[in-house]
Amino acid sequence: MSKYYVNKFLFTVDRDPDYLKRYIEDPKSFVATWEQSIGPKLNDAERSTVHSLTDAERQALIDHDYVALFEMGAHFFLNLTMYIGIYDEPYLAKSGPLSFQREFAAKLQHWRDKDYPSVET
């Protein structure tokens, strides 16, 4: 498991309008591209060989499955802001302000009185 790498995915995609658009339009092929050429970048010149996604992490990212990502210990802020970036507008148009945020919370109710998965990396 690589919480760090999942977080790196969320961090690099949320901050970049072009990556975000590709992740919305075709998550499966974008995640593959990310693993091949975006994730390994240490900087513009150097590549890192250290991290990789597990099958479960890859699937959760492809499925926009923020519940699974929460349960894997992805950072709560990155996990929220990433999927707000994708779903806030369509939910707003359909069901009003904060409807996506409330659905997000509702799907996590089984964690309500428990210790949440650690986000420490």
């Binding site: 901050r15 709560f76 802020f77 929220l80 945020q101 509702a106």
Partner: protein, 286 residues
């Protein structure tokens, strides 16, 4: 020596600007009240006529990430760009450029190192909404140079409440010792109880209204002993997964010193308690 003229500690709410500037018929019912409270709070800074702002905030994974993550960092640059693409997208906060004060940054960095705080530094720091929110609320004309300081309240392990308080005390000392006739205000933002990306997010109130009430009373009284006796990482997590932003309030109480606040206000918003505190140094209160 420089003179600390005010210490401000408040929550930062990235939706304030949007909430109070959208067409009135679309605004939430509390928007006018929120705006009045912010404008009253702004006046607590304006009346002290500051020349420089020392601003304490926390990057939300905008420039700083887990590949290189400092606990405490000071900006040392002639200017600071502000607001990242995803903040504009999510919150509608525009771009800013803040003037820096390299001389004061350099002095404070050395002074804090001499006080055993191993500060990281940045000569090219882009500021995020933790520092732009208070510019929007308490100094919207953005006419003063800033010394930005970032704390890690986000990526565990985090420093203890006591360490945050001691850092506040050290920042105060560094301001007091800065050889200048400038008037300095210290402004920091954080959170009371807050949940983000978890089951208690965006409820009618913050995730722990009891903590919010208690925290406001502690800060009103300047009661650092009660804070340190009752607040730790476990209690903060129980109050909401992003409640660690309260550490910045503890830091600001360190800047002010263990004194009662001179101005306290708060506002219960839909998913969070807003709170606004100002301390004036006692030796000038008269």
């Amino acid at each position: 020596m420089a003179q600390l003229v005010a210490t401000l500690a408040s929550t930062h709410h990235p939706f304030y600007l949007k909430a109070t500037t959208m067409p009135p018929e679309q605004q939430m019912p509390q928007a006018p009240k929120w705006k009045r409270k912010i404008e009253a709070y702004r006046e607590t800074l304006a009346r002290t006529k500051p020349d420089i702002l020392v601003m304490i905030g926390s990057d939300h994974f905008h420039q700083i990430f887990l590949d290189n993550c400092p606990q405490f960092l000071i900006g040392k640059a002639p200017r600071y760009d502000a607001t990242f693409y995803n903040e504009e997208r999510e919150f509608g906060i525009p771009k800013y450029v803040l003037e820096g004060d390299e001389e004061m940054s350099r002095f404070m960095h050395q002074h804090l190192m001499d006080q055993n705080f191993d500060f990281a530094f940045s000569n090219e720091l882009k500021i995020d909404h933790s520092i732009i929110c208070p510019i929007i609320t308490v100094r919207p004309q953005n006419d003063l140079p800033v010394v930005p300081i970032y704390t890690n309240i986000f990526a565990p392990p985090l420093h203890s409440p006591k360490r945050f308080y001691e850092l506040g005390r050290a920042i105060r000392k560094a301001i007091d010792d800065f050889p200048s006739d400038k008037r300095v205000a210290a402004i920091g933002t954080g959170h009371l109880s807050l949940e983000l990306g978890g089951p208690r997010q965006f409820m009618e109130t913050g995730p722990d209204p009891d903590f919010d009430r208690q925290a406001i009373e502690w800060l009103r009284a300047g009661d650092i002993d009660s804070i340190l006796a009752n607040v730790n990482h476990e209690t903060m997590a129980k109050s909401g997964n992003a409640t660690h932003g309260f550490l910045n309030f503890i830091l600001m109480l360190g800047v002010a010193g263990p004194e009662g606040a001179d101005y306290v206000d708060n506002l219960d918003l839909f998913h969070t308690m807003e709170a606004y505190f100002t301390w004036y140094p006692k030796e000038q209160a008269a």
